[in-house]
Structures are given as structure tokens and as C-alpha cells.
């Protein structure tokens, strides 16, 4: 909620900066790449992803003049892209083979490395307290780690995680879209979060530059 306030606060009236946004090819290209990565992971189809990104970009850039700066434009572009992706996913309903989703996920993953046979944390896998996570959000390098960790998730776990957390679909909507039962969805999200937090902890919060 504080996020929303911050965004609406920063997207006030037009400022001189906006004219340069459209000419900033480096910014636009990096934005496009990021959108494409996001859309490709979501849709697992390069052509559909490319189409969604093009449409979202064109739609947003028509109004580029009314954005206060890069962040405001980017927020808007991603909001449009998220809607486009949600539309495509709804159309693609049932095209994803739900049984293959489960098969991949049911292979017993290496969570025995995390938990002992009784289901308690292995000594060295105890989640640590993350020092100052809000500071990490402001560091460019952190986001590289974040992206890398996301890419290391099994494809289907990454997809449901992104549907839930990036596209902000609710559980019912995700289940309806990809034909998954709610309990299977919860299993996949649990695994995705277990992996993601472990990866972030190992590569940033514990062995990162910050002393404990």
C-alpha cells in the first residue's frame, strides 16, 4: 500500500524529462528485453511473448508524454503487459498439459537436503534472519541475483510463481487457467518459494557483501 502511494506520488504531471524518454533508446531497449523475459517465462512461447510486448509497448508509448519519468512509464508498461499476458493465458487455457506440469513437479526433488527425514530443518539449512532486505531492493546487483535465482527455478514453478506474484492472479484464477487443482498449485508455490528464498539467502543475504 505504501508502494501504491509512492507510485501515484511520482507519476504527477508531465515534466521536461518526458520528451527524452522516447529518444532514450538504451532505456527502451533494456525495458523491452526485460518485458520479453517476463512475458516469455509467463507464456513459454516466444512469438506470443513478442506480440504481447509489442502491443504493450506501443500502447504505453502513445502516452509517454504524460509520465513523470522512467519508473512511472515502466510501471505503466508492465501493468499493460500483465493484462495482455493474463488475456493470452486465459485464451491458452487447457493448451498447457496439466499432467506434464505435475509429472515434472512430482519427481522427488532434493528437499531432503533441506529437511531431515522427520521434516525438520537440516542444521545448515536453517533459514537465517535476512539483514535489511529493504536495502537490497535498492541495489542493482541484488536484482541480478534475484533474476538468476528465478531462472534457476524449474520452468513450471517459475511460471506459477510469476503468475501469482508478478501478474497477481489469485489461486482460483491460476488453477482455472492451467487446469491445476488448488492443492497442486499450493505444492508448486511452496517449492518455488523454498527454492527462491534459499537461493537468495545463499547468494545475497548470507554470503553477500553484508556482514551478519
Amino acid at each position: 500500500m505504501s508502494d501504491i502511494a509512492a507510485v501515484s506520488g511520482s507519476s504527477g504531471g508531465p515534466r521536461p524529462e518526458h520528451t527524452s524518454l522516447l529518444n532514450d533508446t538504451e532505456f527502451l531497449e533494456s525495458l523491452r528485453r526485460q518485458m520479453l523475459k517476463f512475458a516469455t517465462l509467463q507464456l513459454s512461447d516466444a512469438n506470443l511473448a513478442e506480440d504481447a510486448v509489442q502491443e504493450a509497448l506501443i500502447g504505453a508509448l502513445k502516452n509517454a508524454g504524460s509520465f513523470a519519468g522512467r519508473a512511472a512509464l515502466k510501471t505503466w508498461v508492465f501493468a499493460i503487459l500483465k493484462n495482455k499476458i493474463a488475456d493470452v493465458l486465459r485464451q491458452k487455457k487447457r493448451m498447457i498439459d496439466a499432467s506434464s506440469l505435475l509429472r515434472e513437479d512430482e519427481e522427488d526433488e532434493d528437499f531432503s537436503a533441506l529437511f531431515d527425514t522427520k521434516g525438520f530443518w537440516q542444521a545448515e539449512e536453517h533459514p537465517a534472519a535476512w539483514p535489511h532486505p529493504e536495502e537490497a531492493l535498492r541495489e542493482g546487483e541484488f536484482w541480478l541475483v534475484f533474476e538468476t535465482c528465478l531462472e534457476k527455478l524449474p520452468g513450471n514453478q517459475a511460471r506459477v510463481f510469476m503468475m501469482r506474484e508478478f501478474v497477481e492472479l489469485d489461486s482460483q484464477e491460476i488453477c482455472a487457467t492451467i487446469g491445476l487443482s488448488i492443492s497442486n498449485l499450493h505444492v508448486m508455490l511452496h517449492r518455488a518459494r523454498l527454492r527462491l528464498r534459499e537461493c537468495l539467502e545463499n547468494h545475497w543475504f548470507v554470503e553477500g557483501e553484508k556482514p551478519c
Binding site: D3, T75, A129
Partner: protein, 67 residues
């Protein structure tokens, strides 16, 4: 009594649905005794904040604020 694996599952699910009273109570008792799961629970909220920030373009700013 729930083990850590089951507790992390509930903590994850609490991001996606409202837990029942019994679930919340058992969770609470486990969390009082287990720092690992307590940290995990805090990190579930943190992950969500990260995802929201990422979509808003935090990853592309590289330290430069927009204003």
C-alpha cells in the same frame, strides 16, 4: 505437531489463502519454538515485496531513483 516442512507449506499457503483457526494456532505454537521457520515466515512477505518491486522496475534502476 507439525514439522518444519509442513509449517513452511502453511506459511507459503498463507500468502495465497486465509488459514483456518486451527492452522493458525498450530503455526503459532511451532513458530514460538523455531527460529528457522520464523525467519522463513518473514521472508515470505519479503519475497512478495521483492516481486512487486521487481515488476515496478526496481531491478532496472541500478541505484538511480527516478526523481
Amino acid at each position: 505437531m507439525l514439522n518444519c516442512r509442513e509449517v513452511t507449506r502453511l506459511l507459503s499457503e498463507s500468502q495465497d489463502r486465509t488459514l483456518g483457526l486451527t492452522e493458525r494456532m498450530t503455526l503459532k505454537i511451532h513458530l514460538m519454538m523455531c527460529t528457522g521457520c520464523r525467519n522463513f515466515g518473514v521472508q515470505m512477505d519479503t519475497l512478495r515485496q521483492m516481486a512487486r518491486a521487481y515488476v515496478k522496475g526496481a531491478g532496472d534502476r541500478h541505484g538511480k531513483q527516478d526523481e
